[in-house]
């Protein structure tokens, strides 16, 4: 197979970028998309040119590093599966057999003001880390935990929390959203902890702080396109966004500030 690639090349964070054309020849249909790029890069290196920079690590769809917008779709165009659902996958789980021989492919980085480009297809997603730092945790110091079975968790709650917790933090939701909104990511995190009994004590502060940080990072607003849901490689549901919306409203009725007058004695 052969392909014509149009790739966003940008030498650094403040450099001007442009789409550049490359030919990928001798592509095996069983190659993954990233393996195809590896081959293109090896040829570039052989010619002494800078290879195309892209984030990747585990190459099995779990680390959340990779992310290329291929022909306008984060992680690449999706097939519709036999059961009517849109296939869920990451860029590294995209295979060349999913494209047609001779096709033109447009490769662009995640586009969002909150995800500035570092180089070529690599973007800075540290905004997600800062959102997590704002409240995406349960304050449980090492050592003091009660027995794992001390608090029973209904299976359906645990499963639901797991559905949300599966988020790999790749940022495809932001890249897909026409508004570059991070609602699906934040909602997944808020819901994961908010559903579990262990997450209840900090539930109100968590949602408020994480939403605040999300706004501060400059992500867009959610207008319920649900494009994020379709692009999510882990099929995180829109229902978690509704859940977060509900939680945030509820949190406004709670006392969020704690007062402490010290405890010397």
């Amino acid at each position: 197979m052969k392909f014509t690639l149009h790739v966003w090349r940008q030498s650094g964070p403040n450099a001007r970028g442009e789409m550049k054309q490359y030919e990928a020849t001798g592509v095996n249909p069983d190659m993954s998309f990233l393996e195809m790029l590896d081959v293109v890069n090896q040829e570039l290196i052989a010619r002494g040119e800078e290879p195309i920079a892209f984030d990747h690590d585990c190459r099995e769809g779990i680390c959340g590093s990779c992310g290329i917008v291929i022909n306008g779709v984060p992680h690449g165009p999706r097939r519709r599966l036999a059961n009517g659902k849109i296939e869920a996958k990451t860029t590294c789980q995209t295979y060349m057999r999913d494209f047609t021989d001779g096709q033109h492919l447009w490769l662009e980085p995640w586009r969002a003001g909150a995800f500035p480009v570092i180089k070529d297809l690599v973007v800075d997603r540290s905004a997600f880390d800062r959102i997590m730092q704002a409240g995406g945790y349960i304050s449980a110091n090492t050592g003091g935990a009660p027995d794992g079975n001390a608090i029973l968790i209904p299976k359906r709650d645990q499963e639901k929390a797991m559905d949300a917790a599966q988020c790999i933090g790749c940022g495809a939701c932001v890249a897909a959203c026409k508004n570059a909104s991070a609602m699906l990511f934040v909602a997944a995190k808020v819901s994961h902890l908010g559903i579990l009994p262990q997450g209840q004590p900090e539930r109100a502060q968590r949602v408020v702080r994480m939403v605040e940080q999300m706004d501060k990072e400059g992500f867009g607003n959610c207008t319920n396109y649900m494009e994020c849901e379709a692009a999510c490689p882990k099929e995180i549901s829109r229902q978690f966004i509704a859940r977060m919306n509900r939680d945030y409203l509820w949190a406004q009725t709670q006392d969020l500030e704690t007062t402490s007058s010290g405890g010397a004695g």
Binding site: V69, N179, A231, S237, R246, Q252
Partner: protein, 253 residues
């Protein structure tokens, strides 16, 4: 103050405001349509309904101002959100594609602005009577009540309501004839149909979206929530568009 400002200014707060004002506007659209549909019950039904509305200025103006406020908030917030959303992606994609987002959801700004323009036109047309309709009775689509014990209303097209002494006669607006004569002009009907198409698209997304925003969606009711917007849109489009159609077909004269 911070207590209120912070949540309202957050992205979610703005979205709640959009959803609540949207819901109120949906309520208005439905109420308005119900009133419109009275036309099928004949001139007296719709005219007495209009008359009843107008005969309580306090209520009418409260409702009008409230509605205006809701409308303005909805429009201004909508524009603000749209601008913020554009700013959140300073560099657009060279190759743009969509997986799931409906055309309606992606063009709420467009459909919303067309509806805004239509609302202005509609007010000018029917409420203010600025828009010229028929040749013979330009601004005047009136009706005079003749007091003869029994209250009956007789159309009196040659008379202008404003020329009558309100102390002598109890007059009411002949909404029925205003509507009929308006919609007898083909381009007026077409413009209303177009407007309803845009309103339908707006509702198609907005009718479900507000529930999602207010957190009223859940795994259990997802399929119902998803249907509400489209059902609402179809209802409003069919209901309102049927009136010009009925007039054009001569079913209402």
């Amino acid at each position: 103050m911070n207590l209120l400002v912070k949540p309202v200014r957050s992205s979610l707060g703005k979205k709640y405001a959009m959803a609540v004002t949207g819901l109120l506007l949906i309520g208005f659209v439905l109420g308005h349509m119900a009133g419109n549909l009275l036309i099928y019950l004949g001139p007296d039904a719709i005219n007495s309904y209009a008359h009843a509305l107008k005969s309580n200025p306090g209520l009418l103006w409260t409702a009008r101002i409230g509605l205006l406020l809701v409308f303005v908030i909805h429009v201004l917030l909508g524009v603000t959100l749209a601008l913020e959303n554009r700013a959140a992606r300073p560099q657009r994609y060279e190759y743009d594609a969509t997986l799931r987002a409906s055309w309606a959801s992606r063009n709420m700004m467009l459909t919303g602005l067309v509806i805004l323009a239509f609302v202005i036109y509609h007010l000018a047309h029917f409420t203010l009577g600025v828009v010229t309709t028929t040749e013979d009775n330009k601004n005047y689509l009136d009706l005079v009540e003749v007091k003869q014990g029994l209250k009956t209303y007789v159309p009196e097209p040659s008379l202008n309501l404003s020329q009558l002494d309100p102390n002598q006669v109890d007059a009411r607006h002949d909404v029925y004839r205003m509507v009929v004569s308006g919609f007898q002009i083909w381009w007026v009907s077409v413009s209303y149909w177009l407007a309803m198409a845009f309103l339908g698209l707006h509702l198609w997304h907005g009718g479900s979206s507000f529930l999602q925003t207010l957190g009223l969606n859940s795994f259990r009711y997802a399929s119902v929530v998803r249907l509400i917007g489209p059902l609402l849109a179809i209802l409003v489009v069919i209901g309102n568009s049927s009136i010009p159609l009925a007039v054009m077909l001569g079913l209402i004269k």
